[in-house]
Symmetry: C2
């Protein structure tokens, strides 16, 4: 995906193994789209045109991957629609091949360091310096919000090196089946959110006192003390609560204010990738650009996570091929099976996927759709697979299983330790995270024109032939490091567009 | 429950049919607790003492209901612990008796009107005058919050008759299994929240544009127009979004500002009841007081809802007895079965209920625990049963099935149309709703002493013999009408303690 990036004003070809390309706009019959390739019929925008003759039964290849097999013979210049292809045999998730596609030639990162906040635990560095205030239960939200407002007005101005104060309000903690087997996911999420690199190792937890999620489920025993934990039921009324919260915040802010940015190797950087509001161009422009930037980050030693189980599920065998060993591949299949089961318990599956809209948008089958999503991960070897909200133990490209839901994937990745997120969008969303900067990359130039103040990077130039995946990928790489280093602020940060912390709780409400 | 309220400084008896009473504090052996009743052994605080001899196999009655049957003969003055009772036969939920306990003698309400905001649709009246801004999806939350902040600063001061501007931010709308059969619950919740009486019939919905929950799922076709709906993807960037939101809010606020309070019959009032952070005294002091107030409200024509399926599940046959007809009783059993199934799908059930803490607190079995919760509904006939977030069609006492989770029950009841909520608590919680006032009633005087500024009504005086259930019930009734009429503000309103809008979504995240 990194070596050959053939672009013409009329079509986009992503991988040098591809024998199809994507029409940038409606192309009439008889158009010369490239040397030796003349369209035999009209090709709708975002649909596929054959770049060579493909005989019956031969592979149709896009993203360097087999999308399917020709049902009838396809001529060079033909339109390849959803009826032309036989689906490849669905992968047996228990016996996926691993390690057969380990790409060791990654694009060389032009920069090897960034300016981050080193953390006391020696883990990943922060890209922002934030006081994160965790809570055990939604019950405390009202008091915590009032206190945080007061902290921002009265305390934050005293500490210029601190960027923000962020309460982790969430719907979990009580009225939930805390002993259900799936409860480990929300509990792990909340435990690990506290450790996010942007929070500088400072612990501040607010509990109520009678909730099911007790403080010892969130913190190590050595961290449970009056310097880190406030229980509202132990406070003598509202004023006392606010006073206690202000006092603890002041103490934490003093410590955080000592943090300063320093040049750090990219191995200290951990970022996440996700997409939302995707369109037919997401897999053509924005996601491959993110893939290119990711490969450069990984080449320089950074950790990059991609996620969204239902989005990648049907191309999972292509992820498996990139897994470095059996253990990683087994974890991958375990996570996919867990999610299959989770959905099937409610008699939900992926059957309605892709939608008629997807097909109209040129996606001929579920593998092609998944590949568009997977392409954001570039071609780097996959060194680890994480359950939702687990923390990584490896550096490099990691598959962190999460729901595809933007607002749920975000907190899961934050819990896994990302200090920055890159978000690809086609239709546009004002999505943002309070705990980490979110860089918005759009798939179409029309989106950038419409939402100039909300989109950080425009990958749509690729679709119009005005830039290559390599160029936009490199621009995005630079932008990621500039944002991570505090030299740039994202649009979401500028306008303070922050989504709620929506925790993944697969267990019932009681 | 309303006729005989025998109180002594040492024990509390709730119903004149009861042959047991509850110790207000630890009572030593040999203490004369009432005329002719001397303790034969120590009775721990909140535990039961026999008020008469009970032979083997005879009923132990509390709340006027059979808690169980004596395993051995019990003497007047004996302690009745969890080992003394045989559980009554668990009710067959398919064949519950209905209508055999229809109480037509309710305590006479001393006031028959309140000052509310009449609504254009002729439904229940508002207790507050609020601009509610609904959203189709969490994606818009960041923009909506920024806009609401600006509205509160720049617009609200211009409209003195409007109390507040409340965004309905929630985690639903996309990345969810919108076609799952259980999706009807969150969708109904969001549809009906728009119709809450405190929002004055004004419709303002903010959508993104590519979400699964489309505007037509929330609004009637005739309400979908540019005066009521803003789609962010149709706006040219952030500034345009804010401008559009401000303009629409200004228009709605102008209309709302014309609303004025007027004297209305109590049949125009709909309130909800729930409890949270309960203790052994909740079922003895706070909940029976709420029951007394509820009976007076119902007597005067008001609508009162109680909820919390898992809290009432084991006493559901006593709710069935109060159902006015088979249809209501059948709906009750249907809702219980739905929840049983919802929990069992995740291999969760009520087996850990009551907890060792409950037993230590004097609750000898699951029926007694449920009765403590049900007692908040008084003795009024139950005229209707609602599925979660359904709107009522009857006036009077209604069982509105919801999760017991405080933060999920709240939005469900708001969707069902409550304009005020009464919240009983033992341990104390700063819970609050932005869309409706929440009156906090505590079960113990210690709680009131500790959280004087957060508790509105202290029912703990009942436990110390300083007030009767009738007295506190009447005080609460008056307080409800004063708050509903805008003459009083609750503690939660004063400090702006508002929980997030946590929508009940039993279907999976995708
Ligand atoms: Ca390569
Ligand atoms: Ca997503
Ligand atoms: Ca009566
Ligand atoms: Ca389930
Ligand atoms: Ca509750």
């Amino acid at each position: 995906m990194d070596k050959v990036l053939e672009i013409s004003p009329l079509f986009i070809r992503i991988n040098d193994a591809d024998n199809v390309a994507i029409a940038v706009k409606d192309i009439p019959a008889g158009a010369k789209v490239a040397e030796g390739i003349i369209t035999n019929m009209e090709i709708p925008q975002a649909h596929k045109v054959a770049l060579e003759d493909i005989n019956v039964g031969e592979s149709v290849v896009r993203y360097g991957m087999i999308l399917g097999f020709a049902k009838e013979s396809i001529k060079c210049g033909d339109w390849i629609n959803e009826f032309a292809l036989e689906l490849p045999k669905p992968p047996n998730i228990d016996e996926m091949e691993y390690g057969k596609n380990i790409d060791t030639e990654l694009p060389k990162a032009p920069r090897r360091t960034f300016e981050g906040f080193r953390n006391p635990d020696g883990g990943y560095a922060g890209t922002r310096n934030i006081l994160g205030i965790s809570s055990t239960v939604q019950c405390v939200t009202g008091v915590l919000n009032v206190a945080v407002q007061k902290m921002k007005e009265e305390l934050l101005p005293k500490y210029p090196n601190v960027d923000d104060i962020v309460p982790i309000n969430h719907a979990y903690g009580c009225g939930v089946a805390i002993n259900a087997s799936e409860a480990n996911i929300p509990i792990r999420t909340l435990r690990n959110l506290i450790k996010n690199p942007n929070f500088g190792g400072q612990i501040m937890v607010v509990g109520l006192g009678c909730e099911k999620l007790t403080v010892d489920m969130l913190l190590e025993e050595t961290d449970i003390n009056p310097n880190n934990v406030i229980i509202l039921q132990e406070q003598e009324g509202f004023d006392a609560m606010i006073k206690a919260l202000m006092k603890m915040a002041d103490m934490k802010l003093q410590i955080l204010n000592e943090r300063i940015r320093e040049p750090l190797p990219l191995s200290d950087l951990c970022i996440g990738l996700q997409c939302g509001g995707s369109d037919a161009f997401s897999g053509v422009t924005a996601n491959p650009s993110a893939g290119y930037a990711s490969d450069m980050l990984v080449e320089a030693g950074a950790t990059v996570m991609f996620s969204e189980v239902t989005e990648v599920r049907d191309g999972v065998h292509y992820i498996a091929e990139r897994c470095i060993n059996k253990e990683v591949c087994d974890k991958l299949s375990k996570e996919m099976k867990w999610y299959d089961n989770y959905l099937s318990e409610s008699e939900v599956d992926r059957s309605a996927n892709p939608t008629p809209g997807n097909k109209k948008g040129g996606l001929c089958n579920i593998v092609e759709k998944a590949m568009g999503s997977i392409t954001k991960s570039g071609t780097s070897p996959i060194v680890e697979v994480l359950s939702p909200a687990e923390r990584p133990t490896k550096h490099g490209m990691i598959y962190a299983a999460t729901p595809a839901s933007d607002i749920v994937c975000g907190p899961c990745q934050l819990a896994s330790g990302i200090a920055l997120q890159v978000f690809m969008t086609g239709r546009g969303t004002p999505y943002g995270l309070a705990a980490a900067p979110v860089i918005k990359v759009c798939s179409r130039s029309e989106m950038k024109q419409m939402w100039g103040d909300l989109i950080d990077v425009n990958a749509g130039l690729i679709a119009t032939g005005d830039a290559s995946i390599k160029e936009i990928g490199t621009e995005l790489f630079d932008y990621i490091l500039d944002v991570a280093s505090g030299k740039m602020r994202t649009a979401a940060e500028k306008y303070k567009l922050y989504n709620d912390v929506c925790i993944f709780n697969p267990a019932p409400i009681t």
